[in-house]
Symmetry: C2
Subunit: 152 residues, 2 copies
DNA sequence: TATTGTTATACTCTATAACTATA
DNA sequence: TATAGTTATAGAGTATAACAATA
């Protein structure tokens, strides 16, 4: 009952991330593409907002979106009155593929979690819910910080 | 108290993985390099074993190890009597950098988890312990399956 | 002047196919 | 023949720096 506290959280996330990459390969998506589609699932976003939310540079977003456009998974559209901004939107095909990806990934993660007893299996999955909440709150806080910085 | 069950586990892992990449950038490591160092922390391994454990091809391992050797973080050594096999070992510098990486990554994940209340924060971190256990068991099962396949 | 998005360029990781050395 | 590791090559993601168009 001791020897539990020296878990290295980063290493666990690193291994889970690789499992995710392999699962996404089955639906021909990269981790980066999956992240972009996941954000767009909640609605279209400007390229710069995508870059901000993902923590990558704008040239990176250009590249990933180029690939998704080529496959018909997203579309670029003018957005609002600021003619510099370009919105990115999920197509029906993109939405469908994202659903397939979610299912495949969940299947894979469930298969791994199946190694655990029922109690710890529930802990593992509920832990991810907690992380989601934390990530959402953290993103909101960073956004608020950026906005108040701009106001200065 | 409803609206809790539609969490998409893959998306959470995808976002955590990006947070990890950013944190590792602070110590000049990629996710793949961190994974390799993490395995070697438990002891030297042949290149093919690394490929197996990480779920990547052998050429990929050659490339990642090349980069780590160039930076003096790992070394290649002949291993055992089979002169085809090449063992990869952590250097003291590699071990030190890995420790720094673990610390930086943990700092970042803790910062994100700090958005949660104490209870859910504990859930989140203990959930990762459960995932570690699951990943270990799953890896062991795959290894056993491969061995019994070879025996046929 | 500042911002949005892109282009140009370079580095890393990934994969497949072909090769060498060893078994 | 089969296996361990490498080389060759190509595709994707990342970054920085420089540029165009717009604000």
């Amino acid at each position: 009952m001791a020897a539990e506290q020296q878990v290295k959280p980063g290493r666990v996330v690193a291994r889970l991330a690789r499992a995710l990459e392999v699962a996404l390969g089955c639906v021909d998506l990269t981790l980066s593409q999956y992240r972009v589609l996941g954000i767009l699932d909640a609605g279209g976003e400007a390229a710069s907002v995508l870059a901000d939310k993902l923590g990558v540079t704008r040239p990176s977003i250009t590249g990933v979106v180029d690939g998704l456009v080529l496959r018909g998974l997203v579309e670029r559209h003018p957005e609002g009155s600021d003619r510099r901004r370009i919105g990115v939107l999920l197509t029906p095909e993109g939405r469908q593929l994202l659903a397939n990806a979610d299912a495949e990934v969940e299947r894979r993660l469930t298969e791994i979690a199946a190694e655990l007893g029922a109690g710890r299996r529930r802990d593992a999955l509920e832990g991810l819910s907690s992380w989601q909440e934390a990530l959402d709150a953290h993103r909101a806080r960073k956004l608020a910080a950026r906005l108040s910085e701009v106001a200065s």
